[in-house]
């Protein structure tokens, strides 16, 4: 009897404790983020926040069901300066999550037709209510193609981003995704190209027009086609925009002028263009054409749409890589070599020289543990040279005389040669 009661009592205790623990854990509520954000807000002196849709959004904003929009947060300090505020792990709120929901990271997903507002809260600061409409309206036509700051002239070799703007009725204009872009045959002959690998966030494209080498400027016609979708009764629409490729390019420069690349590895060249209608040079690496004009077996270079300006070392040697845009071009010297991680001089021990000889050009450098004069290992003309005592001896650091010593006075000096981050030294003693 007593044992029976004890068993029942133990079971009661166990059940009560289990129930209590389960209830306690299940009832957890509260959010530490405001406390943590308050620390962050003080660090950046945050006063107010404002939420923003993607930069490419048109106002008023309309979106289709299923569409996703990444909102961002712009913060302002008490002095009115803009500060970066991460949209991640914040308290985002949707006024109607059946119409559009928003994640803790500010990713809005549209669900069904209706008007909805989104807001965010950071460290007690509440953003404005951002209103937009979800609508499954069908496209009624392509309104325009935006890009190039509205201008009708394309600077040669300077890529520009373009977006097709669709009309869904009334004030409902949206940046179109799923557009098929093309340039006409005449434009292609002009050298116009579309970067399919460089699409803009809105589903647009990047277009480059080029003045033909040795030719005149001409027109480029860009076409945007929105394909039909019979399932939803969507008709197809097309829109053309015409540009003239300018002859404003005045100079093209490739940097660096000289670069080393290991065989089997890559390095990057950058092309900058100066235009008569722009104050400062702009990078046109992606828009220029690239080719190897000397040493074609030594290196390869990527061109438009395929890693432009990226040079790959194929075998040891020297190559000339050229960027071309219309009538302008510039070259870079590329030294390709096997980097064995070690260097060797053709001389051992201290080099004894007579001051009366004035110069010494017998010092050569190669890769490897022992000196080799084979062209793919002799890097005398590619290494960076220096002297520890330029009162005694200097060393030529440029051109074909690289590594040649000039004797100035009696004494000793250490000559250093550097190639692919490997340094080797040799002592020189100049006697009178």
């Amino acid at each position: 009897m007593v044992a029976n009661i004890m068993v029942k009592t133990n079971a009661f205790f166990k059940a009560a404790i289990t129930l209590l623990v389960a209830l306690s854990l299940a009832s957890c509520d509260g959010d530490v983020r405001p406390l943590v954000e308050a620390v962050e807000a003080n660090d950046i002196d945050l006063a107010t926040i404002e939420i923003q849709p993607p930069a490419s959004s048109l106002m008023p904003l309309f979106v289709s069901p299923g569409e996703r929009l990444q909102f961002s947060i712009l913060g302002r300090t008490f002095e009115g300066q803009s500060v970066t505020v991460s949209p991640n792990n914040r308290r985002w709120t949707s006024s109607n999550s059946n119409i559009a929901s928003v994640s803790d990271n500010g990713l809005v997903v549209a669900h069904s037709n209706g008007t909805v507002s989104i807001s965010a809260r950071v460290a007690g600061a509440v953003s404005q209510q951002f209103n937009f409409e979800v609508s499954d309206a069908l496209l009624q036509g392509i309104e325009r193609i935006d890009g190039n700051n509205g201008g009708d002239v394309l600077n040669s070799c300077l890529p520009q981003n373009f977006t097709a703007i669709g009309n869904y009725g009334g004030s409902d204009l949206r940046a179109l995704t799923g557009v098929v872009w093309s340039v006409n045959t005449a434009s292609q002959m002009m050298g116009a190209e579309i970067f399919t690998s460089n699409t803009t966030p809105t589903g647009g494209i990047s277009l480059v027009g080029r003045q033909p080498t040795g030719g005149n400027v001409g027109d480029v016609v860009l076409n945007a086609t929105f394909p039909a979708d019979d399932e939803i009764g969507q008709a197809a629409f097309s829109f053309e925009r015409r540009f003239q490729v300018s002859d404003t390019l005045t100079d093209l420069t490739v940097a660096p002028e000289r670069v080393d690349v290991e065989v089997g590895r890559t390095t990057r060249l950058v092309a900058s263009a100066t235009y008569s209608n722009q104050a400062n040079p702009v990078t046109v690496t992606n828009g220029a054409e690239w080719l190897v004009v000397m040493g074609v077996n030594t290196v390869t270079v990527g061109t438009v749409g395929n890693s432009p300006g990226v040079v790959s070392g194929v075998t040891g040697g020297t190559a000339t890589v050229r960027a071309v845009c219309g009538n302008e071009f510039d070259d870079a010297i590329v030294i390709s070599a096997n980097n064995s991680g070690s260097l060797s001089f053709n001389r051992n021990g201290t080099i004894l020289l007579e001051l009366s000889d004035r110069t010494f050009s017998g010092l050569r450098l190669s890769t490897g543990d022992t000196f080799s004069s084979s062209p793919d290992r002799d890097v005398t003309n590619e290494a960076q040279w220096s002297s520890s005592n330029t009162n005694v001896v200097t060393v030529d650091t440029d051109g074909s005389e690289r590594g040649t010593l000039t004797l100035l006075s009696e004494g000793t000096a250490t000559i250093s040669a550097e190639f692919f981050d490997t340094v080797i030294t040799i002592d020189v003693q100049v006697n009178n």
């Binding site: 209830l23 009832s27 530490v32 406390l35 003080n42 002196d45 460290a123 007690g124």
Partner: protein
């Protein structure tokens, strides 16, 4: 205050030999609150009322409010409106000393205040609710209905914030 005094006198007037069924506690708690790299130590007062419904098994409710704010890195923090509903599991006393465990649900607010560059204050206040675990000791005073109590309490709110407290106070039973 008069009512409290009258209550205490009433408790003390009950003979110690009578069966203790209900009790009241008043403890001072010093809470540790830690989030990000900040650590605060606050002080609260807590009043508890409870009763036993079986030997060694009881239920109690406690309420607390802040005495002193905690400070760190230019921020001040205090725990407000602390309320806990717990089940008490208490060992049989040995020479008046017994150990107890409290399992319960707690609800409280953490108020944090920081000063911005213009000298203005930014105060954020967040309510939390979660599990509460307490272990403690109670020493009954000889020939008295009074006991001294001390314990360690941990609040679990399933958030990256640590909140615990050391408490010490007095209990009166009747």
């Amino acid at each position: 205050m008069r009512a409290l005094l009258a209550f205490v006198l009433l408790i003390l007037s009950i003979p110690a030999t009578a069966t203790e069924r209900y009790y009241g506690e008043y403890v001072i708690g010093t809470s540790g609150i830690r989030h990000t790299d900040l650590q605060f130590r606050t002080v609260e007062g807590r009043l508890t009322l409870g009763g036993y419904f079986a030997k060694g098994l009881g239920a109690e409710v406690s309420f607390g409010g802040p005495f002193r704010v905690g400070e760190d890195e230019g921020f001040t923090v205090q725990v407000e409106n602390l309320a806990t509903l717990s089940m008490r599991f208490e060992s049989p006393p040995a020479e008046g000393l017994s150990a107890y465990i409290l399992l319960g649900v707690s609800r409280f607010a953490v108020s944090q205040r920081g000063v911005n560059s213009l000298g203005g204050a930014r105060t954020v206040r967040e309510n939390f609710q979660g599990a509460s675990f307490t272990i403690g000791l109670r020493q009954q005073l000889t020939n008295s209905r009074l006991s001294l109590v001390g314990g360690y309490q941990l609040h679990y709110v399933d958030q990256p914030i640590d909140i615990d407290a050391w408490t010490f106070g007095v209990r009166a039973a009747w």
